[in-house]
């Protein structure tokens, strides 16, 4: 949770599609929640599962990973790899007692500013409902 009591949301956006889509949403002045931070990555498959677990550990309440639509990946098949990872990762999060909804994968192309707005807004609402992620003690001396 941030100082305003809103969930901390992290969005990993791929350089070629989703980041451009988010940019378009911005320059089109679409209204969006403000409690998310963007990390631009070259490809959604750059997002190592270790990074996601680490982010949850450090107090992030929800993580969005957005990439190019299937078939449109700049690196041909990166987004398919991401999809397979996220499926396994969601299952693993469930086993750790973390609601798998806290991790979401989506596709946004460079021309879909409105779609970005819609995804980020609905995700922020969902995270609002789930509230703060309470993890057991993950730091030990």
């Amino acid at each position: 949770m941030n100082e305003n009591g809103e969930p901390n949301i992290l969005a990993f956006l791929c350089n070629w599609c989703s980041y451009a889509g988010a940019d378009l949403a911005g320059v089109s002045r679409l209204q969006m929640p403000t409690n998310f931070r963007v990390i631009r990555v070259m490809c959604s498959s750059r997002v190592d599962p270790e990074i996601i677990l680490y982010a949850f550990k450090k107090g992030i309440d929800g993580i969005l990973v957005l990439g190019c639509h299937p078939g449109d990946c700049h690196y041909i098949n990166g987004n398919y790899k991401t999809e397979r990872r996220m499926i396994m990762l969601q299952k693993l999060l469930g086993q750790f007692g973390i609601n798998p909804k806290r991790l979401k994968l989506g596709w946004v192309s460079a021309s879909e500013g409105a779609r970005f707005q819609e995804i980020i807004s609905s995700f922020a609402r969902e995270m609002e409902e789930l509230g703060k992620l309470e993890l057991p003690i993950t730091e030990v001396s």
Binding site: P49, I52, R84, K91, I137, T138
Partner: protein, 326 residues
Amino acid sequence: MAEKLKFAFSWNASCGGCEIAVLDIDEIILDVLEKVDILFWPVAMDFKKSDLESYEDKSIDVGFYNGAVRTSEQEEYAHLMRKKSKVLIAFGSCAHLGGIPGLANVSNRDGIFEKAYVSTLSTVNPSRVFPEPESIVNGKKLTLPEFYDDVKALDQVVDVDYYVPGCPPPPDLIAKAIDAIIKGELPPKGSVIANEKALCEECPREKNKKKIREIKRVHEAVDDGETCLLEQGIICLGPVTRGGCGARCIKANMPCRGCFGPVDKEIDMGASMLSAIASIIDEDNLTEEEQKKLVESIEDPLGLFYRFSLPVSLLRRVTLGGGNDE
């Protein structure tokens, strides 16, 4: 003759295999004993805690601590061994990573007691008697160590100098470690005494391009005895596990389960393995739906990927109660 080195061995939350592994170095132990005095080794000789307490601080040259830390007694021994030893070695997977006892971090004390003392079919305990740190029997107070909710690896409790990994550590690695100690040729503090690279580097099996179309559990597969197990669709933790064991499980036709822990720069074995599996699915010959189904078919990713390393993983343990994500 120069003064003999002094060793101590302490057995904690582990099965005891590590203690026996020390004897597995066979006749080398006789050479070792010429150069080493053992000051504490309850599994083999009659020592009491008071013996260990009576030694001067830092009077033991090398302390071997095996087993994870789960009870107050084991925690006490961790501090005691640290205080008395110049060099403290986390010996075996449990001390190094938490090991199999570390899987208890999917539950907590109440959950474990309920299972062990009530719900198993062979248990009859209608009055729900559980082990208590203190109980009065015939007017006398009896005490037991406190059982913690959480299992920890040794370095999560005290400072550790070296790690000898393995479940149990293989004899040649133990001999190598003891030899290095005797000669005073130890690596930098914090080193894991094994290989730096992953197990795949030393695996004798034939490796080709990895493109898998099915994932099989060990009992569902017929191994051809030659090709990489991952290529045959059997999940093997070799790519994410430190080498140095001589691929002993692979040579017995069993996949690696990760007892040597992660390689140096790797943070979380489960995340790395999951990533590796996602990368070797045969995209060319499977539809997107089939690919999804395939990765979904892994029954228990937590138990499979973190079999030995749950307490040292990023998330460390499962959220139980109190959390809002139930």
